[in-house]
């Protein structure tokens, strides 16, 4: 990998979070971006777009600007969701371990939707899916869980085997802050070297031509007339 120039912004890397309402998507993002947890967090309306610079802990050259779409799980927003996963590299599909059956069902719905999307954009690289089992703290201490850990694992494994795009299953607790840094570290480490190389090559050549960093070449052209009001 070439030496990263300070003047060049790290490459954007788009991630979308999907899953039933209240599975803990926003809590996961907040734990990652600001290391906080709020029990009284509000439901997301529509979606939130969060950007965060992240440098891999194991390789300082792996630097990305995560562009995270935290979507609302409530059904009434479903028609908007395709816009959020368009061009996404990774989808985090969340399942609430303390409410497995129903949230697992919704997770399958999202996997199908992503597959439909992949097949319609044949030229793009398909979205990689990570399954996230959230709220691990709630089931860890349970003595009589509604569904056993083994049953959960079996169901998840079946799902992974039948869908080629599912990369991995992670368990997290946003409350206790476990599994989350590891998840994003995993994602960054797994990015192809080529992705960085082609990004920086392109950026470098543009910098040479235009003598400025890429990213915000906005061209605010103001109409000569301002006949308003």
């Amino acid at each position: 990998m070439s030496v990263i120039e300070d003047s060049i912004q790290p490459p954007p890397y788009k991630i979308v979070l999907l899953g039933e309402s209240s599975v803990g998507k926003t809590s996961l993002v907040h734990r990652f971006t600001s290391n906080t947890f709020d029990v009284h967090i509000a439901n997301t309306i529509g979606a939130a777009f969060i950007t965060k610079l992240y440098t891999s802990h194991s390789d300082a050259n792996r630097k990305v600007k995560f562009e995270i779409w935290d979507t609302a799980g409530q059904e009434r927003y479903r028609s908007l969701t395709p816009m959020y996963y368009r061009n996404a590299k990774v989808a985090l599909i969340c399942i609430d371990l303390s409410n497995f059956e129903s949230t697992f069902h919704t997770a399958k719905y999202w996997i199908q939707q992503l597959e439909l999307n992949n097949s319609s954009n044949a030229d793009d690289k398909p979205i990689e899916i990570h399954l996230i089992g959230t709220k691990y703290d709630l089931v860890q201490s349970q003595t009589t869980p509604k569904i056993s850990q083994e049953d959960i694992e079996t169901k998840v494994n079946e799902l992974i085997e039948s869908h080629g795009n599912i990369v991995k299953f992670h368990t997290t607790s946003s409350k206790e802050g476990t599994g989350i840094v590891e998840l994003f570290e995993d994602i960054v480490v797994a990015i192809d070297d080529d992705f960085f190389k082609s990004y920086y090559d392109k950026a470098q050549s543009e910098t040479d031509v235009q003598g400025g960093p890429i990213g915000s070449i906005l061209n605010a052209r103001h109409a000569a007339t301002s006949g308003c009001c």
Binding site: H30, N43, A47, A48, Q74, R76, L80, L218, R221
Partner: protein, 579 residues
């Protein structure tokens, strides 16, 4: 909610801004007056508004109150005389208000049959509770149900409790069924007022035991609740869901946040509680959906308007293709704490104040302000603006940036659900302009000062509202948001607002002046409410000093003149339009 109450009980003072005029040396919170045995004395020749406790004996009986003639005389004084007189008046030092703990209970806003203290009263009669236990003690109820009788929302109590009200509700429904064109149903039973609104397939019901809440007020509250549902779901979606499925459960597509928002709406419409902007909301609704303003210099406002206009015209060149980034942008709003600083709209369209207020309520309910050098967060969500278009959605981009310490919110409304990235670039441009050093220092300085209305340091008026009638926009002095203050202020203004005004004799003038005057007397201490209006403005104020009414009018006129002089700084007007 109860936590907030407890935390705020410490600093009880109805009307705090007057403190700057009369500094005290005590460390204890200074409070204005002790309220005991308050009797509203409604003054004015035709006063008809009667809160529960009043009879007509107090009218005009008090000395020191003015007559029509006196008021009109006053207005005929030339300005120089007026200002001379005002100087005299200001030198006169009113008695320092007595320091005592006061409570909304002492003002007799609500009957207190069990003789509870403030906190107990609040918990038992006011605070929302989904437990059935205190259901019948609550002063206010709201229900939303489908016209098949399926409960959707109840302000208090559980689903089961609504069964208890089924008798009333079935009667209402059958009335509506008999005559489908009937939209409103209203009855009074004892001290209880019941109003229902038929928005088939939904029915909204309000039941109030609060004496100063009139049926027309309850009706507009029901419309607000209905508009909230429209804003998140839209009329066609509601109709589609209920079509052929009379038993449809609307709650399937509502979230916890929606129920929370409905709760918040109920509380702020009824009491002006419980968040920082609830009292502003209450006053805004009282003044007929007037929009609250923030003071900022004319040049700063012009510059902000220009930034919004310029951003609308942004284009981007990439791969030899030129994109018009602002093509789908309809409205741009810069606001500070839900008060609009700058506004851009299409030439032939506008958002009503009701829609704007609704929009801000929704934004506030789910705003999270994580942003630093490494992280930023934007919101993007659909909303139906019921008065703009009840049948479709607009898409809202929201981002809050902190300019030094002031949070400035950028809200951009687009007609296209896929335009997020374009709208975000527009937002980036706006942020870029706002944070340029010169703009930033000017803006932060002005926004910092905007909260204190200088005029209040010069007059012994504790709290005032000035509304520009043509614009339907108002400015109001700062309010301390404790439960006690809010309940009292909202009661005082409500009473003042509904006190029938007397018309002043004006000879040969078309600009009709009106006034009304209300007093709440407590021992020697008095709270005076005064309203003055003409064709252009409505002015309301509260004063908690021993003051003669002529003096009070002098001060009011001073404030009114100040508002008129500062018109450009106080009012945004219609904002700026693009064609």
């Amino acid at each position: 909610m109860s936590n907030g109450f407890r935390a705020r009980l410490g600093s009880i003072s109805t009307i705090q801004s007057a403190r700057s005029l009369f500094p005290t040396t005590t460390v204890e919170p200074t409070t204005a007056v002790t309220f005991t045995n308050v009797e509203p004395n409604l003054i004015g020749t035709e006063s008809t508004y009667t809160p529960s406790v009043t009879d007509s004996e107090g009218f005009l009986a008090n000395s020191g109150l003015l007559t029509d003639d006196e008021v009109s005389d006053y207005f005929q004084q030339p300005d120089e005389d007026l200002s001379e007189m005002l100087t005299d008046l200001i030198r006169h030092t009113p008695e320092e208000p007595t320091s005592a703990k006061q409570s909304f209970l002492d003002v007799n806003i609500f009957p207190n049959p069990y003789d509870l203290d403030e906190e107990e009263f609040y918990k038992r009669h006011i605070e929302i509770s989904k437990e059935d236990e205190l259901f019948h003690d609550k002063l206010k109820q709201f229900f939303i149900l489908s016209n098949a009788g399926k409960p959707i929302y109840s302000m208090n109590g559980s689903d089961e409790i609504i069964i208890g009200y089924m008798g009333v509700i079935t009667t209402i429904i059958s009335t509506f069924e008999e005559n489908m064109n009937e939209e409103i149903y209203s009855i009074s039973v004892g001290d209880m007022k019941i109003v229902a609104l038929n928005k088939s397939p939904l029915i909204l019901v309000s039941i109030s035991k609060i004496a100063h809440e009139q049926p027309n007020v309850l009706l507009s509250q029901l419309n607000m609740l209905y508009n909230y549902l429209l804003s998140i779901i839209s009329k066609p979606t509601i109709d589609r869901n209920f079509h052929n499925k009379l038993n449809y459960d609307l709650r399937r597509i509502l979230t916890q946040l929606d129920f929370h928002n409905l709760d918040c709406l109920c509380m702020k419409m009824t009491y002006g509680l419980t968040s920082y902007d609830s009292f502003n909301y209450y006053i805004s609704q009282l003044l007929n959906a007037s929009l609250q303003q923030i003071k900022i210099s004319y040049t700063a406002r012009q510059r902000l308007n220009k930034i919004l206009l310029d951003s609308k015209r942004m284009r981007q060149n990439s791969d030899d293709k030129e994109t018009d980034l602002g093509a789908d942008l309809l409205f741009s709003i810069l606001s500070v704490n839900s008060k609009i600083v700058s506004f851009m709209k299409p030439k032939n369209h506008n958002l009503t104040n009701q829609d704007l207020t609704l929009l801000f309520s929704i934004i506030n309910s789910s705003k999270s302000d994580i942003s630093n050098d490494e992280t930023s967060e934007d919101m993007w969500f659909p909303i139906c603006m019921p008065n703009f278009n009840p049948n479709g959605f607009l898409y809202v981009f929201v981002k809050t940036i902190i300019l030094q310490t002031t949070p400035v919110t950028i809200t951009l409304l687009s007609s296209n659900k896929n335009s997020f990235y374009q709208i975000r670039q527009i937002s980036n441009y706006i942020i870029h302009k706002l944070t340029k050093p010169k703009m930033l220092s000017k803006l932060t300085k002005e926004l910092h000062e905007s909260n204190t209305l200088a005029i209040l340091r010069e007059v012994p008026i504790s709290h005032f509202i000035y509304k520009n009638k043509a614009l339907n926009q108002f400015v109001m002095s700062d309010t301390d948001n404790s439960v006690n203050s809010v309940l009292q202020l909202s009661y005082f203004y409500n009473t003042l607002y509904h006190t029938k005004a007397s018309q002043m004799k004006t000879i040969g003038s078309l600009n009709i002046k009106k006034f009304s005057y209300t007093r709440w007397t407590v021992d020697e201490a008095v709270i005076t409410g005064f309203m003055l209006s003409d064709n252009n403005y409505e002015f309301y104020c509260l004063c908690n000093y021993q003051i003669n009414s002529k003096e009070l009018i002098g001060h009011c006129i001073k404030v009114i003149k100040w508002c008129e002089k500062n018109y450009n700084r106080l009012f945004i007007g219609n904002g700026v339009s693009f064609t």
